[in-house]
Amino acid sequence: MSGSRNLTFWTGFAVVVAALAVAPPLLPPFWERFVTEILIWGLLAMSSDILIGYTGMVSFGHSAFLGLGMYGTAAALLLLPPNLWLAMSFGLVGAAAVAIFVAYFATRLRDIYFAITTLVFSQIFYVIIFTWTEVTGGENGLTFRQPPLSIPFLFETRFSRETLHWFVLAVVVLSYLVLRRVTQSPFGKVLQAIRENEPRTRAIGYHVERYKMVAVMLSGLFAGLAGSLYAIQNKFVAPDFVFFLISGEVVIFNVMGGMGTLVGPVAGAAFFWLMREAFSRFLTEYYLIPVGLIFTAMVIFLPQGLLGFLRRRLNE
């Protein structure tokens, strides 16, 4: 990458992060919460992009990672002393456990088989969570107290709307930088080679299965992180988040924003939630009718997503 492009990127990055940091406290509370939530969904979308966009494995089961991240965090907050970092690590452990399970199978399945299998996997977790009422609260989910914002041995304070937003922003931006680094590393290049031509990548001598497993683990961990943040923000978890429709929404984020760009899926998530907000003003819960139509049209006419479309427009 040339120096000037690098400079443009970091300038753009700084501007966006600054805007996201400054703007929300100026917004009305509803929209502030909205932006925070979009950041969390954006993180989830980014995590799935590692699989969908970079490795070419369409996961229809990201709700399982998200959900286990949520329930792991919930467990820590219900059973242990309220500590933010402990709660988040529990969420990560939960997501990692699912990810290992899925990764094991991911190595043997391709294309639609992978899509269907991840879908079925997420449903296994959904059924378990939905029916194991004594532990998970079943259909009603679980509610708990928000842990205080803390830096060990330094300070501890209750989350305000602003600090929560900044905390989420910090986690999401850090995750973005890590994931960006990963996708630009040799490891990320191998993932993209697998997407382009799996047999050839194998023939060159790469252990494709191992790379895929790591990709699933990575993707699952960051999805779990998103789940953990969501649980902390909303102070409750419910099986609805594990249901496969959420996985479908994650795929929608990717397609709408533009797969394989990391930023694209985040934009896709924002676009989806804005549309949802706009349409539900006059269509209430039927907002998915226009959203579904727009999504289908984008699959057909804009396979590169909004970002790819804009990029082509700008280059012309």
Partner: protein, 290 residues
Amino acid sequence: MVIPWELLVIQLLNGVIIGMILALVASGLTLIFGIMDVVNFAHGELYMLGAYMGTTVMLTTGNFWLALGGSALTIAALGAVVQVTALRPLLGRDPLTTILATFGISLVLQNYALWQYGPVARKIDEPFTGQFALFHLQFPWYRVVIALLSAAIILALWLFMKYGKYGIWIRATTQDRVMAAAMGIPVPLVYTMVFAIGSAMAAASGVLYAPLVGINHAMGLDVILRAFIVVVVGGMGNLAGSVLAAIFISLLEALASLWVSPAQAVIVSFIVLILTLLIRPTGLFVPTPK
């Protein structure tokens, strides 16, 4: 826990009946996949809309059989529209894009149903209420009829594919799309026809099954998942395999629900899928290629 053997027999019978309904849904799905390489995520919604359409016809005519036929025809037309508008432009692209497009359509159809019919579950009355004695309880004849009708529809599909003019068109197109076109077979029309037939089968199973359960806008979600499992376990695109897999899985679930709640019994089918993918990813009920 000791299970009385009468209960066992009844559960097995129920398993076969549910299995036949599932086979009917899955046949449509596997037909569409085998011929067009399309994974139809909206299949469950066509099943659900089929059931709703059945209630509409039932309300106006009061005749169950008219409801069955009318719903199948309407949903076939809907399927044709979906194929022409959303899937025809995707021809030749990665099959994964068809999952995405049909997923979008499933969202639209599901919420359309919610909008049109509301959240309260509806019901279709059984066309007849006769029962026969099975051990200590009365078993409704209608359930037996469902299984027989499903089998008859699947058999009719098989005969159509084997001997019908369009059946030969469809099989020729499956094997070599380009050569079929060169032989004067209107390939785009064949694809639309296949999708319409698959949709009609989904609708028919929706109407047949409706008297046993309430109809609601989310019923397609549960069915599509099972149908996917059946189709993978039976071997993608393999009609006979799907039928066997549907019965096999439903029997297992029926037996499992002797011990656990039906909601948990679903996990049995998940486990069958995972084992299939581990042991024989091409499908349990596919003959080993020579």
